[in-house]
């Protein structure tokens, strides 16, 4: 695995959020993903970024272009130092929300990407990793 490009953005408000989402889309386009794949990874990132703002008090997004053998991938990591997720299994259930929202973000985002990883520790924070590969 080779790191080709990396961008780090601090997410504190809506403006950062939109800016970061734009960069995800830009880099997705740069590695030659189809419009559909670009839309999926950007929408998934949007859900995770929003979770970070609403539930995690903001944080950092790291967007990377990765090379692996002959293929390229886009990795999106969202890291916050918020309250963490007490029950991960529950959080992934469609319809579960501590916010009276739709509870779509986590299960939906997971469904939209090739690889999905969530690590969370109570009162320490949450890290979500999304990955898509250019086929």
């Amino acid at each position: 695995m080779k790191l080709i490009k990396e961008k780090k953005i601090r997410i504190k408000n809506e403006n950062d959020f939109l800016n970061a989402r734009g960069i995800v889309k830009e880099l997705a386009e740069e590695i030659g993903l189809s419009i559909l794949s670009q839309t999926k990874i950007t929408t998934a990132s949007s859900e995770i970024l929003r979770n970070m703002l609403i539930h995690g008090n903001g944080g950092i997004i790291i967007i990377r272009i990765i090379g692996k053998e002959t293929k390229k991938g886009l990795e999106v990591i969202c890291e916050d130092k918020g309250k963490g997720i007490p029950d991960k299994e529950l959080a992934f259930q469609k319809g579960f929300s501590t916010n009276k929202s739709l509870g779509l973000g986590l299960p939906g985002a997971k469904n939209l990407v090739d690889e999905f990883q969530l690590d969370s520790e109570l009162n320490k924070g949450t890290v979500v990793k999304l990955m898509v590969w250019k086929r």
Binding site: R21, L36, T39, T42, L104, G105, G108
Partner: protein, 128 residues
């Protein structure tokens, strides 16, 4: 039915969350003020619809129904439509059209149908 009775709303490519909520209020007020019976919601230049935006669109449709108006979503990009399905967001009450012209046609059909039902109701009452 003239376009004058329809409300055309174009959503710009990037919309802030707070703006989305403001949009909802503006639409409700405008519907009431002009007694509009239809909303054309043009999203052809929106590249990303996540659950938040999707919910705003659903809410616009629900509010318009409560105010006796219909909403047609115009120009949803195919990639956006597929992504919404895979995200798991349902849009049960949304009418869609490929472009504004077809949207107007669809709305006018809906509205005439509603008027006919109203007239039929009226007719029944008259014969009572």
């Amino acid at each position: 039915m003239k376009l004058g009775n329809l409300l055309l709303i174009t959503i710009q490519s990037e919309i802030y969350d707070s703006l989305g909520i403001k949009l909802l209020n503006d639409i409700a007020e405008t519907l009431e003020k002009h007694n509009s019976k239809g909303i054309l919601l043009d999203i052809s230049s929106v590249p990303i619809i996540d659950s938040f935006m999707g919910r705003i669109i659903n809410n616009i449709a629900s509010i318009s129904r409560l105010m006796d108006a219909h909403t047609v979503v115009v120009g949803m990009q195919p990639a956006v439509a597929i992504t919404l399905v895979e995200l798991g967001l349902e849009m049960p009450n949304i009418l869609t059209a490929i472009n504004v012209e077809q949207g107007i046609e669809l709305l006018n059909k809906k509205i005439t149908k509603m008027n006919r039902i109203d007239e039929a109701d009226q007719g029944e009452k008259d014969t009572d």
